[in-house]
């Protein structure tokens, strides 16, 4: 202890402190060495040199004088602090190895926790034991409890890395020192105190650094792992340490009754042996329970030695730089960080996702391949220079013999003299015995030149080529299967006419159909059976028939040559038929003077008796051939078209007043067909190229629809009234959206020849067209109420059942009013129904 009060010692303690931070093994050795120093000194010395007292203070336990050494007993209040090992108490003698660390340097104490190295765990142990035992009154009478507590304590001691170690000095009693020497601890317990002092005189005889129990080599593991085994571990000879036999209740009871040491008997969980604690152990435990410093000799009232001044000095003793915590981030950085945080919050920036580590092995290319595109940082779309081929075996000065040309190959090579680019090799492989004999390369200049050409002629830019598939240009149309129902098969053929059937019309109820033919008759058919119900000879080629849309009338308008006949077919409700007859029986009074212009064009005439019975009620004679007759939706007005009638080609008749008007005074061209608007007072007049829309109420031209075609054949209007379908003789079908424009919204070129008839369905979104190419084409034409959505047109089905006759195919097309059925009349004298 001579040198302790000197500076070198201080240095060494410092060193200890630092070392302790690195490794407990080193720490322990230091502690041992220091202790060794201590032990070499006499305890008297220790005690005398009271200055050194707490510097050296080891938790000593003077067993003999444990009762007597009152000086060493601590105050309860002090002890609390000490046990906690708080830095505030300089006098941390309680921490077992604190002796080395009591440097009293405030900085060191606070900055690093090395003051607690090694002792930390025993502190915990003490705490725990204190916690566990504080509440209960410790009484030795209560032996069972006590022994349990002892067991607990023992266990904790074992699990803690620090161990109580006893060392003996010559004079004094055992000094139990916490040095994690369980082995010694155990041994010592079994022998007499004096004996132990001799036995463990030199603690280096046993390997103090090894914490392993010599009996069991399982190490510091939870012993409950061995619960299911009969053994507890393995000894040094790799033999099983068997569990002791379990005592039954009776045995333990007898033992408790008989054994005076039962209360201090503890089972070592690692060996399973019962161990009787010696007095020293018991004393330590008692001190711990009382929350005193285990070392009875420790004097906590020793005078304070101020090794370092507690005052803050102007210059620091150590040149340790400021701790990182003392740094404040710079404002610039803080602003940058704030910006990034904002960007992340707004979603502009994404925080780097943690890369998932794939467990698959990663491979990296060491070298880039020849084919791979070179990636250059600033040059976008860089085109690398063409690379030269790597030399092969053939280019070797000493190629394998199979690379050398034989005669045939040489001949071939020579033959391609005029077309050297066709050669497989641009040289003849040569063989030399040694590199020395290789002559100068005669093609060097040539090759350099070729290389320059390669580089010079290499493409400088990438040309982006746009490839558009023809399918991409087509609109996306729904599958026709999804647009059911629509006519798909021919279901019925109405046979009976003997010449071309030019026109058909369906009764508004949908039970009957009327057809007009070139055989000078009109036939009425029952739709469902194909039965011709009635045949009415009309005495002229029937060019148009039209069923009166007024369901209170049973009337058909028939255009036969120059006459328009109003025919009562006599089918349907008898009451309506008879009422129609009575209505048409007598002509109403004509109170208006008919102008000469009209009178010369049109004459109304009551049917005579002989044709009355055929159903013909009224004959309206026109001055030219009537091409078309069409009803207004209310069924009172109907219009007739005479294409050759010049400025009187369109006549509007009124049934109730038996009156005719010629609405147009000027001829606008060859009128093809006319049509009434289904809801509004509009009148469509189609000349060869233009469809004119007139407002009948205001008597003015509303719109002119330009068809962009040469000759309009027929028109049909959508039941909604906003869409018009126009068929033309030049094979087109035009869909006009009247709200959209005066140009066709869609032009359907589906037919191969002239389109002769077009029709809309009244309820279903269907329209159809018949053409001279014998085919009837059914299309889906959905009109939306939404003005923003254009009509959807999907061609659905081509039905080619009619036969061609004199290059004529289908003349007229009409839909059933309620069913998704379509009729077509053709030049082959038949009418066909498709469902």
């Amino acid at each position: 202890m001579l040198s302790i009060d000197n500076v070198p010692i201080y240095g060494s303690t410092c060193l200890v402190g630092k070392m302790a931070a690195y490794g407990s093994g080193i720490k322990r050795k230091f502690s041992v060495s220091l202790k060794n120093d201590n032990t070499s000194d006499t305890p008297e010395n220790l005690n005398d040199t009271s200055d050194d007292e707490h510097f050296l203070s080891s938790v000593t336990n003077d067993e003999d004088s444990s009762d007597a050494d009152d000086d060493h007993e601590l105050d309860e209040s002090d002890e609390d602090d000490d046990v906690e090992g708080e830095s505030g108490s300089e006098d941390s003698g309680a921490s077992s190895l604190g002796k080395e660390t009591t440097t009293k340097d405030e900085d060191y104490e606070s900055d690093s926790d090395y003051s607690e190295y090694g002792s930390e765990e025993i502190d915990q142990e003490e705490e725990r034991s204190a916690e566990g035992l504080e509440g209960s009154e410790v009484s030795y009478e209560d032996e069972v409890k006590e022994s349990d507590q002892l067991k607990l304590l023992f266990k904790m001691k074992r699990t803690c890395s620090s161990k109580i170690k006893k060392s003996n000095t010559e004079n004094s009693s055992n000094i139990s020192q916490i040095t994690s020497k369980n082995k010694i601890f155990n041994k010592e317990r079994q022998v007499d105190e004096n004996e132990t002092t001799k036995q463990i005189d030199d603690e280096y005889k046993s390997d103090s650094s090894d914490e392993e129990d010599i009996r069991s080599t399982v190490g510091n593991i939870p012993m409950n792992w061995y619960d299911d085994y009969t053994h507890l571990g393995y000894d040094w000879d790799a033999k099983k340490v068997m569990k002791p036999l379990k005592q039954d209740e009776l045995d333990s009871f007898l033992k408790r009754m008989e054994d005076p040491n039962f209360w201090r008997t503890v089972r070592d969980p690692q060996t399973g042996q019962d161990v009787v604690l010696c007095d020293a152990d018991v004393d330590i435990i008692q001190r711990l329970q009382a929350q005193k410093i285990p070392d009875a000799n420790f004097d906590d009232a020793a005078p304070w030695v101020e090794w370092f001044t507690s005052e803050v000095m102007k210059t620091p003793i150590v040149r340790v730089p400021d701790h990182k915590r003392s740094f404040l981030p710079s404002r610039v950085e803080a602003r940058k960080v704030a910006k990034m945080v904002h960007a992340i919050k707004m979603g502009w920036m994404k925080p780097q996702e943690e890369k998932k580590e794939s467990h698959e092995p990663k491979f990296f290319m060491l070298w880039q391949t020849d084919e791979g595109v070179e990636h250059m940082r600033r040059i976008q779309n860089h085109i690398p220079a063409p690379k030269r081929h790597l030399p092969g075996h053939a280019e070797s000065y000493n190629p394998p013999p199979e690379y050398l040309f034989d005669k045939r190959e040489l001949k071939e090579w020579n033959k391609l003299r005029t077309a050297p680019w066709k050669r497989k090799l641009h040289f003849v492989p040569q063989k030399y015995n040694s590199l020395r004999s290789v002559p100068a390369y005669d093609r060097f200049v040539n090759e350099r030149f070729q290389r320059c050409l390669d580089l010079y002629l290499c493409p400088r830019a990438r040309k982006m080529r746009l490839t558009i598939e023809p399918e991409d240009l087509l609109p996306q149309l729904p599958n026709p299967k999804d647009l059911q129902p629509f006519p798909t098969v021919m279901s019925m053929v109405y046979e009976g006419h003997t010449d071309m059937v030019r026109s058909i019309a369906v009764e508004p109820k949908g039970q009957y159909m009327v057809s007009g033919s070139d055989d000078l008759t009109v036939k009425v058919w029952e739709i469902s059976t194909g039965r011709c119900v009635r045949t009415i000879p009309v005495g002229g080629i029937v060019r148009s028939v039209s069923w009166c849309p007024n369901q209170a009338l049973s009337l058909i308008a028939v255009a036969a040559d120059r006459k328009v006949l109003l025919v009562n077919p006599g089918v349907g409700d008898h009451l309506i038929c008879s009422k129609t007859d009575s209505l048409l029986d007598e002509a109403p009074e004509q109170d208006v003077v008919v102008s000469e212009r009209v009178k010369t064009a049109v004459q109304w005439e009551q049917a005579s008796e002989d044709i009355w019975k055929n159903g013909i009620r009224i004959i309206i004679s026109h001055f030219k051939e009537v091409r078309q007759v069409t009803w207004h939706g209310k069924g009172d007005y109907f219009a007739t078209v005479m294409p050759e009638g010049q400025n009187r080609s369109v006549v509007i008749h009124q049934l109730s007043k038996r009156r005719s008007q010629v609405p147009f005074s000027k001829s606008k061209g060859l009128v093809q067909c006319v049509l009434f608007h289904p809801v509004r007072p509009f009148f469509f007049v189609a000349t060869q190229k233009i469809v004119r829309v007139y407002d009948l109420a205001k008597q003015e031209l509303v719109k002119k629809l330009h068809s962009n075609s040469k000759w309009i054949s027929s028109i049909a209007i959508h039941p909604g009234g906003d869409n018009l379908l126009v068929g033309t003789y030049d094979r087109k079908m035009l869909w006009f959206d009247l709200d959209l424009s005066t140009k066709p919204y869609q032009t359907l070129r589906l037919h191969g020849t002239a389109v002769r008839g077009v029709a809309y369905h009244r309820q279903y979104p269907l329209f159809a067209s018949g053409s001279d190419d014998r085919s009837l084409i059914v299309c889906h034409g959905m009109v939306y109420n939404d003005l923003l959505q254009n009509p959807l047109i999907v061609p659905l089905k081509r039905l080619s059942n009619h036969e061609s006759y004199n290059d004529f195919g289908i003349f007229d097309v009409i839909f059933h009013p309620t069913q998704p059925w379509v009729f077509s009349s053709g030049a082959d004298k038949t009418i066909r129904l498709y469902t």
Binding site: P485, S491, K509, Q511, S528, G572, D573, T818, Q819
Partner: protein, 324 residues
């Protein structure tokens, strides 16, 4: 199976067989009575429009009554004295506003239901001799006196609901009628409350339907080449229990066998009558050939005879060797 051919002057549009007598209706507005052996018994004029459906009401050895419906908007109840071979129109049922299409006799033979192009289903009394004040809709005086000897009868009940032609009427119960219509629906009517019980919506117009009391299912002919089997009792799963596809044209008539719950016949515009087993939807059991025109009507009320009429102006009798 062999067949017999009875010649007519016009299309045979309706046929019904009972007790060995074949009652048939023709497009020339006449009714014809034949024995099952093919002997012509009577030609009955009376209607002014094509007959669309006929049905025996009662039948015994001496007296028989039957009904015929026509496009002249009337149904006529006739009484036929078998022994004297005299027929008399007892009642003229007036009330439909357009041509009639179908007639159905209730099981109790006291009621009949008719449907037609005026989309209304009318229920009449089918009894020949009954108190005239049985009730029903009031008879206009004009109609009462019009038809000479025969009395005018008015419907007991008019059921509205269909939107298009009622093409078939079947009594499924004493108070339940099943109708098929062109408006793609099959409807079950309750005559006691006078309303629709339930409705089955198909996707094609129905041309005919036949209900079998043996299995309670409904076989339908639509405006396509398929015959479909519906079960009006089930209300879950697909409505169409099976589809019988072999015809190549519209199927115009279907009839269940009255003795076998699995067999039915269908007549089509492809000139064929097919005999089906409801358990084999792909292939019919027999093709009954013979017609040279569209088959318009067929009947299988007697188990050993299948009769059919067509647009080739013939009525054909097919003898089946089916056991009773």
């Amino acid at each position: 199976m062999w067949n017999n051919c009875l010649l007519y002057d016009d299309w045979v549009s309706a046929v019904h067989l009972k007790g060995g007598w074949i009652l048939s209706g023709c497009y020339d507005n006449t009714l014809h009575l034949w024995s099952a052996e093919g002997k012509h018994r009577l030609t009955i004029p009376g209607h002014t429009g094509p007959i669309k459906a006929v049905a025996w009401v009662t039948h015994d050895d001496t007296l028989a009554t039957f009904v015929s419906v026509s496009h002249d908007q009337t149904a006529m109840l006739w009484e036929w004295n078998v022994s004297t071979n005299a027929v008399e129109c007892i009642h003229v049922c007036r009330g439909h506003e357009r041509g009639l299409e179908c007639v159905g006799i209730s099981r109790s033979e006291s009621r009949m239901a008719t449907g037609g192009f005026d989309t209304k289903l009318k229920i009449w009394s089918a009894a020949i001799h009954e108190a005239s004040d049985e009730g029903g809709e009031s008879v206009p005086k004009r109609l009462k006196t019009e038809h000479g000897k025969s009395q005018v009868r008015t419907p007991l009940m008019t059921l509205k609901g269909h939107k298009e032609v009622i093409s078939a009427v079947n009594w499924t119960d004493s108070s339940e009628i099943c109708t098929a219509s062109w408006d793609h629906t099959l409807r079950l009517w309750d005559t006691e409350i006078g309303g629709i019980k339930s409705e089955i919506v198909g996707n094609k117009s129905f041309f005919d339907a036949s209900w079998s009391p043996l299995n309670g299912t409904l076989i339908t002919a639509s405006a396509d080449r398929h015959v479909r089997l519906y079960d009006p009792r089930s209300n879950e799963g697909s409505l169409v229990k099976s589809t019988f596809t072999s015809h190549t044209q519209w199927v115009q008539c279907v009839r269940w066998s009255t003795t076998d719950g699995h067999l039915f016949v269908s007549g089509s515009y492809d000139h064929l009558i097919k005999l089906w087993d409801s358990r084999s939807p792909k292939v019919p059991l027999f093709d009954l050939k013979g017609h040279e025109g569209k088959v318009l009507c067929c009947d299988w009320s007697e188990p050993e005879l299948i009769v059919s009429g067509g647009s080739d102006n013939t009525l054909r009798i097919f003898h089946s060797n089916q056991r009773k």
